[in-house]
C-alpha cells in the first residue's frame, strides 16, 4: 500500500471539534429551532433522518462484506460529524453560551446558530416523525433531503439520471467534487446563518480554518476512496485547487453578509474573525515575531491570510499570464478591510464582486482535469513563492504547507517517479515547524526565519 503523506496536525483540529466523552441524551421534543436553519435551499422536501438509511440491507451493514452497504456503521463509529450535536451539551458549549451573555436563555442545543452546523439543517416543518436532531450532521446534511429519492436511489434506473436530475429530486451528487465541497464549506467556512464570528470564538468556539484537501483526507471515508481516484486521477491536486476556490467564494460571501449585516446594524463591525488571528494574538516580544508586509501600515489589522493567500498563485499557474481579475479584486478588498474603520457598504459590494469573479473559475476546475504537467506547474508556482512573504505569518505558511503536501500527493499519483524521500522529508520538516501542541492555540514559538529557510529548501528539492 502506498504510503500517503498525511497532514497530521490539522487532523488534531478536526478531532478537537468533537468531544468523545459520553453525554446525556437529549429529547428532540424539548427544542425546536426556527425554520430558518437551512443553509442550502431545500425546497419543499421532507428530511427523513439518519434512521431511514440504517437498515442492515441498506447502509447499516457491519463492514464484513466491505465498505459498500456499511456507510452508516463507519459514520456512526468513526465520523466526528456523528457527534456534532452531542458536543452542544458539553462543558465547553455551556461556557460558550454563558460567555455570549446575549440575553438569550436557551442552551446551545436549542439555539439556531449552533444547530445550523451541529445538526441536520432541516426546517422544523420538514421533518419526518423519525427525524431527530441528536443524529448530528447526518446523511442528508450532505446528500440532501431524502423524501423524493429514498425509495428509488438503489434502482437501476437511478444510475441513468444525470447529476442535475438527481439534484432536482433533492439529492446532492456528492460524487462530483465541486458539489461535495459546496456541502463542506457551508458549515466549515460559514454563512449568514452559520457565522462563527469573533464574539463566538472569544466565547470559546474553535476558530474555523478549513482547507479542503486535508479535511477530505482526514475525514473517515464511508465511501471507497478508490472510486474517487478512478473518477478523478488528479483527485488530490484537484480537491486542493477546487477547495481553495470554493472556500474563497464562500468566505467572500460570508464577508459580504457580515458587512451587509453591519450596515443594517445587526452584526458587529469590523468583524475581527476576518483578520489574521495571530497578528494580534501573540505575546509582546522584544523583536517582532511576524514580518510586516511592505504595503501594510505598521500595527494595523491584517486581512486575508487564510482563504486568499494562494489564489494569485493558482490563477497565474492555471490561467496563464494576463488574467489579473482575482488578485485585483482581492487587493481592493484588502485595502478596504485594512482601514481602521472599513466602510461596510463598500466592503459588501467588493466582496460580492470578488466572489462572483471566482464562479467561472470554480466551474472550470470542476470540469477540467489536471494532468501531471499542470499539477507540476502549480506545484512549482507555489514553491517558488517569495519565501519571506510565505513565512511572514503562520496562516500563510500553513496554507503553503497544505498546498505543497496536496500537490505532491497529486503529482505522485499521476507521476510515481516524482516521489522521493528527500521531498517527503522536506515537507515533514515544514510540518514540524508549524505544529502547535493544541491545534487551536497560537503558535507561540513560530519562527519566520526557520520557516523561510525550510521553504527555500522545499523550493530547491521540488524545482525539477
Amino acid at each position: 500500500m502506498k504510503t500517503r503523506f498525511t497532514c497530521g496536525f490539522v487532523a488534531g483540529s478536526l478531532l478537537v471539534l468533537v468531544s468523545l466523552r459520553s453525554v446525556p441524551s437529549f429529547s428532540a421534543a424539548a427544542a425546536e429551532p426556527s425554520s430558518e436553519t437551512g443553509l442550502l435551499p431545500v425546497r419543499d422536501l421532507q428530511w427523513r433522518g439518519v434512521g431511514s438509511c440504517t437498515s442492515s440491507n441498506c447502509h447499516g451493514g457491519d463492514t464484513r462484506d466491505g465498505l459498500r452497504g456499511s456507510e452508516y456503521a463507519v459514520w456512526a463509529r468513526l465520523d466526528p460529524h456523528a457527534r456534532a450535536f452531542q458536543v452542544l451539551s458539553n462543558e465547553r458549549s455551556q461556557r460558550i453560551v454563558r460567555n455570549l451573555a446575549d440575553g438569550d436563555e436557551r442552551r446551545a442545543p436549542q439555539r439556531p446558530l449552533c444547530l445550523a452546523c451541529h445538526a441536520d439543517p432541516a426546517p422544523a416543518n420538514h421533518r419526518a416523525p423519525d427525524f431527530t436532531l441528536e443524529d448530528g450532521v447526518g446523511c442528508e446534511s450532505c446528500h440532501g433531503p431524502a423524501q423524493k429519492w429514498l425509495s428509488n436511489h438503489y434502482l437501476d434506473s437511478w444510475k441513468t439520471l444525470t447529476p442535475a436530475e438527481k439534484e432536482a429530486l433533492g439529492m446532492h451528487p456528492t460524487k462530483q467534487l465541486e458539489t461535495r465541497l459546496q456541502q463542506c464549506v457551508g458549515c466549515h467556512v460559514g454563512s449568514e446563518q452559520a457565522d462563527v464570528n469573533h464574539d463566538l470564538i472569544a466565547a470559546g468556539h474553535p476558530r474555523l480554518r478549513f482547507e479542503a484537501g486535508s479535511y477530505l483526507a482526514r475525514m473517515p471515508h464511508h465511501w471507497d476512496a478508490r472510486e474517487d481516484k478512478a473518477r478523478y486521477p488528479d483527485f488530490e491536486a484537484r480537491a486542493w485547487a477546487l477547495g481553495q476556490v470554493e472556500s474563497a467564494r464562500r468566505a467572500l460571501d460570508l464577508l459580504a453578509a457580515r458587512a451587509a449585516g453591519a450596515a443594517a446594524g445587526h452584526k458587529p463591525w469590523p468583524e475581527f474573525a476576518e483578520y489574521d488571528c495571530f497578528a494580534c494574538h501573540h505575546e509582546l516580544t522584544v523583536e517582532p515575531t511576524h514580518t510586516p508586509r511592505e504595503d501594510h501600515k505598521l500595527g494595523s489589522l491584517v486581512w486575508g491570510n487564510w482563504y486568499y493567500t494562494l489564489l494569485p498563485d493558482l490563477e497565474s499557474a492555471d490561467a496563464g499570464a494576463g488574467r489579473q481579475a482575482v488578485p485585483n479584486s482581492l487587493r481592493t478588498l484588502r485595502q478596504s478591510m485594512e482601514k481602521p474603520s472599513p466602510d461596510a457598504d463598500r466592503v459588501a459590494l467588493e466582496a460580492k464582486t470578488a466572489a462572483r469573479e471566482l464562479e467561472p473559475w470554480a466551474a472550470r476546475l470542476g470540469r477540467e482535469s489536471l494532468n501531471a504537467s499542470r499539477v507540476q506547474g502549480l506545484l512549482k508556482t507555489v514553491v517558488r513563492d517569495d519565501a519571506a512573504l510565505a513565512a511572514s505569518t503562520w496562516d500563510r505558511a500553513v496554507q503553503h504547507y497544505l498546498a505543497d503536501a496536496a500537490l505532491y500527493n497529486g503529482l505522485t499519483d499521476l507521476d510515481p517517479g516524482y516521489r522521493s524521500p528527500e521531498r517527503r522529508d522536506a515537507l515533514i520538516g515544514l510540518r514540524r515547524l508549524l505544529s502547535v501542541p493544541d491545534a487551536y492555540d497560537s503558535p507561540q514559538n513560530y519562527s519566520p526565519v526557520s520557516v523561510k529557510a525550510q521553504l527555500k529548501l522545499i523550493e530547491q528539492r521540488f524545482a525539477r
Binding site: R98, N99, D199, A202, P268, V286, G299, S442
Partner: protein
Amino acid sequence: MQLFALIRRVLVPAVVVALLGAAEVLPRAAAQEKPTLKPFYYGAPMCSGRTGCHGDKEPVKDTKSICRCIEATIWEQKDKHRLAYDTLTGARGQAMGKLLGMDVTDPQKGCVACHGVIVPAGATVHEKSFNKAEGVTCVVCHGAHAEWVDEHASVTRLEKFRVLPREIKEKDYGMTDLWHADKRARVCASCHIGNTGERKVVTHAMYAAGHPPLPGFEIATFSEEMPRHWQYPREKSEEVQKIQNFSKEFARFEQTRLVLIGGVASFRESLRLLGSQAEECAKASDTARRVLDFAQFDCYACHHELRTPSWRQTRGYPGPPGRLSMRPWPTTLVRVALRQQGRQASEMDTQLRKLAGAFTERPFGNVEKIAAEARALETWSEGLLKAVENEPIDVAGACRVLEELASFAEEEYPDFDAARERAWAFLIVFGELKEKPYTDELKQPAGKKLDMMLDLRLPPRKGNDPQIFAGLPKRLECMTNYDPIRFRLLFGEVAQALVKK
C-alpha cells in the same frame, strides 16, 4: 427733611465705608491673582555648575539647608531621565524612526516631548546651560520660570525666599511644589501615562515599531527608582520640616499618601488622556480616524497567546465577548482609596459601567460615548482625590490600606500591570510603616517568588545604559507567563503574612 437727614448721616457714610472696604478688598483680590511668570528654559549645568548649588559630591552638613546640594550630581550620574534623549539617537530609537518614517529627534513631530525638553516659542533660553541632548532635566519637573530660579540662586534674596510657603513659591514664583502629591503625579503622569495637550502620546504604531510597552505607573515606586535625589520628609531636620510645613502626619506617612493620591491621580490622568483622544476621534471628518488609536485599549485584550484552557473564557466577559476595553490597571488603587474613605470598592465598578459599555458596544467602541463617559469619570475621580487629600493617615489607616491591598473581590482577575501596581503599593506602604526600604521584602523567599512572577525591581542605570531594554526580555516573559489566579494565590499568601507582622 428728617428722612433726608437720615440718609445723609447714616447711609452715605455706610456707602462710603462699603466702598472703602471694597477698595480694600479689590487690591487684595488683585494681589491673589496669579502673576504672569516668565517662561525660562535652562539646562542641568546651570543647577550643578557652581559649588554650593546642586552639583557637589558630598551632601551638605548644614541641617538647616532644605537641599543636600548633591541633587544634580545624583541626576547626572544615576537618573535614567538623563539618558532619555540618548535613547532617541541610539540603535532602537533610530530603527523606530526608520519604520515610522520620521525623525524621532524632531522637536515638532518627533519624540522629544517625553524624551527631552520642548521649548515653546517665545520662551527665554539660558544658552550657556541648555542642551537638548540632556534628556529630561530639572526644568521639566521643577518649573520653567525665571522668577524662582533668580530668587533661590540670589545670595541676597535666598534667605527670604527659602522660608516662603511652598504654595507661594509655586504660585508667585513658578517653582512646582513636588511635595504636593497630586502636583507631582500630574508632572510624572504627563509622560508616564500621556497627555494629549502636551503632545505626549505613545501610539500603537510606535509600539509596533519597537517602543517598550508603557508599564503601569505607581508613582512612589517610580520616584524611588529614578533614583530619588531628595530625602524623605522624616529625614529632614525639624527646622526644615517647619519651613516646608511638613506636619508630623505628613512626615510619618508621606509615601502612603503618595501611593493613594498618586493612584487616584493616575486614574484621573488616564481618563483625561482617553477622553481627549476620544474627543479628537469624534471630531474627525475622515471615518478612518474615527477609531481610537489601539494604544488606548487594553494591550492584553489582544496581546496574549491563545491557550486552552483559557482563564479569560473561564472568567467570562462584562459585555459581549472578545471586545476591547480600556487598560484596567489605573483602577487598582482607586478601590483602595474608596475603602480608605469608608466607601464601597464596588463604587468603582458602578462608575465604570457606562464607560465599559461604551467600549464594548461595538468592536472598537463608540468614541462619542467613550469621550463623554471618560470626562464624567475624570470629574468623579477629582472629587475622590480631594477627599483622600483631606483624610489624615495614621498607623491604623496604613494597616487598613495594607489589608485592602491584600484582599481580592471574588470576580477580580487583575492583569499583569494591575498586579504590579498592587504589589508595589503594598511594598511601599509596608516599608514606610516599618521604616525600612520597600525592596527589603523582595529579598525574602516569598518576596523573591513575587518578584519572579512580576519582575518588580526596576533596574538601576549602569553607566550610560538606562537598563530599560536590558530588562525588557524578562518583563515581557513575566507578562507572557502571567496567570491572575496564581498571582492571587501567591500575593494573598505573601501579603496576609506581612499584614500579620
